[in-house]
Amino acid sequence: MDLTGWGRVTVARSRACRPERQQELAAAVVEAAADGIIAFGGGRSYGDAALNSGGRVILTARLNRILSFDASTGEVVVEPGVTFRDLIEVFLPRGFMPPASPGTAFATIGGAVAADVHGKNHDRHGSFGDHVRWIDLLLADGTVRRVSPEADPNLFAATVGGMGLTGIMRAICFRMLPAAGTHVVVREERMRDLDAFLAAFARVRDTATFLVGWIDALATGTDTGRGILETAEFAPASDIAAGAPARARAVPFDLPGFVLNPWTVRAFNEFYFRRVPAGGRQRTVPFATFLYPLDAIHHWNRIYGRRGFYQFQCVLPDATAAAGLRHLLAEIGRARGASFLAVLKTLGREGRGHLSFPMRGFTLALDFPRRNGAEAMLRKLERITIENGGRVYLAKDALLSPESLRAMYPKIDKFKAVLARVDPHETFTSDLARRLGLKALRGRGGHA
């Protein structure tokens, strides 16, 4: 079966299975162990984290049951294939929200723990892993271990943010957070340049519940870093106008490469900026519309054509953010590597995983269509990130080298030590793991 990451840059051929019961999952791990296995959730990581060329892939989509729910605490136990969409649908009307949510509701909870995902409320609530109580982890030897910060802190820290390399999560217990409504009031404000943007973030990050910035990565000169800052709070029930939810549309096929060029993207970004009046505006929208704006268009990744695209996401610490972001944006602007709107957000603190992405600082994410020079460009951005003491997000990455990984993730040796302990035969491996030297570089199951 051929699988790709969301960026569709690499196609990986592997043997896949899709268990529907826990018993089948356990049997699949035992049966496939010798070939090397990785879990594949919603397939929303951009690069090669869930791919395993020449090995085995276990799809978790059909293990999607909610196993328990405590309405007094918000504690819930789920199978790994439950999606954010499920959580929003089932629990938002009952006053609970996922503690952290990525920008797509099609991501699974297994994927969310494996990447220790962050949402638009990171300053306030931390990342997904911060809310996990325990994980039932299916290990290489076929046994199941209940992993928690108390029971085996190191294995817990290697599993949260560990990109599936410690084993397969078969059940996850976490706490949801109270949600004071089904809609949010979103306040949008124009930011004329990077300084204004960073100052505004500094002002609101400790008080706003949700905040996210959209930045025009093609703006240059005095406009560098201009964009829109969105902050959001739950809306009182009285403010909500009833209306049918909009139907999702889909991009039916790959768009030819020329559709996205510097001019069309520039025009789009200009439009996106001007759409918000100079004095800002305020709207009340369904929570899910605010969290998952791109989900309204299924398969939007096809707009980048058949060659696919890269997403670059880094975080820079507060202290170096201003200079570092300026440097990154200058580099991006110079290359004119047409990119849609970029996202700028604040993160509040380190995650609990050895390879967790978050640190206190600013995170920038943007897409690059895969065309000549894209890789060289990304390597430059990678270098700037390292120079500024930042790191690149593995859930998005497809290019990082083992050396860069080490420079960005200081706990890498602790992580490797856990892998050596719980998975000495490298049963769990992926294209990402081999690329980053986390597992032996050779492919498994015959051909690399």
Binding site: M1, A16, C17, R18, E20, R21, Q22, Q23, E24, R62, R65, I66, L67, S68, F69, E79, V90
Partner: protein, 250 residues
């Protein structure tokens, strides 16, 4: 919580279509009884449906080949329906590889026992209860494989063909009591049975099949293909002369 006016007994409830059907029926306001052999698995599905929908969901042991146990199960289901209407969704089945069957006659017997004898016995046991109830819906999953005996799947196909004829008769019998019997013939559905098989086209999701089943049941439809265009495909396949058909490798 009070009992719902309708209760669906879902037999063979670990399969993807049955799970999706149970979820859909609960979302529609029915209580659910999940019956099958893998109790640990059914307990998880039961928790899931109860949490998602707020309906009552219970688990019952059921083995299609344990014919003596069918009466006990049906009686327990009738009690669980608690005075409301009991409905049946038959989703259990066994589809071994034809080549495996050809090597092992016992496997042919097993396939027939699960797919035909098990279903017939269960429905014979249940029929009087439905006649007494004077309402209710029965939905059984047949198969397009039952429309024509094929080289690749003829034992399974013959059991489903038998079941289809049986259901026609049962339909006529229960019609007189206001009970509807719906035979659903799914084409390619994205389930464990078909996952990874080459050469499939226009594969339907279990959720869409489940929704179609529920809709057809509520409308009291007699027979339907899902997706609907399988009716056309099977009409063609049924009309190929046997003289030619026997040479085909399908």
């Amino acid at each position: 919580m009070t009992a719902a006016p309708e209760t669906w007994l879902v037999l063979g409830a670990s399969s993807a279509i049955a799970r999706a059907f149970a979820r859909a029926a609960a979302q529609d306001g029915a209580d659910i009884l999940l019956a099958g052999r893998d109790r640990a698995d059914l307990d998880m599905t039961a928790a899931d449906i109860a949490i998602r929908t707020g309906r009552r969901v219970q688990v019952m042991d059921f083995d299609a080949t344990d014919l003596a146990g069918h009466a006990v199960l049906i009686e327990a289901a009738r009690e669980a329906a608690d005075g409301g209407t009991l409905n049946l969704f038959l989703a259990f089945g066994l589809m071994p590889n034809q080549s495996d069957i050809d090597r092992d006659p016992a496997l042919a017997l097993r396939a027939i026992t699960v797919n035909y004898i098990g279903a017939v016995n269960l429905l014979q046991v249940a029929a009087p209860i439905f006649e007494a109830q004077r309402r209710g819906r029965i939905v059984a999953l047949g198969s397009v494989a039952g429309d024509r005996g094929r080289l690749k799947n003829y034992v399974y196909g013959s059991a489903k063909a038998g079941l289809s004829v049986y259901l026609q008769g049962l339909r006529a019998r229960l019609y007189r009591s206001g009970v509807t019997v719906t035979t659903v013939k799914p084409g390619f559905v994205d389930t464990a049975m078909t996952f990874g098989l080459p050469g499939l086209f226009l594969v339907a999701s279990p959720e869409s099949v489940a929704r179609a089943c529920l809709k057809a049941a509520k409308a009291g439809r007699e027979e339907l293909y899902v997706p609907f265009f399988w009716w056309g495909i099977m009409t063609i396949i049924r009309n190929i002369p046997e003289r030619l058909f026997k040479r085909l490798n399908i």
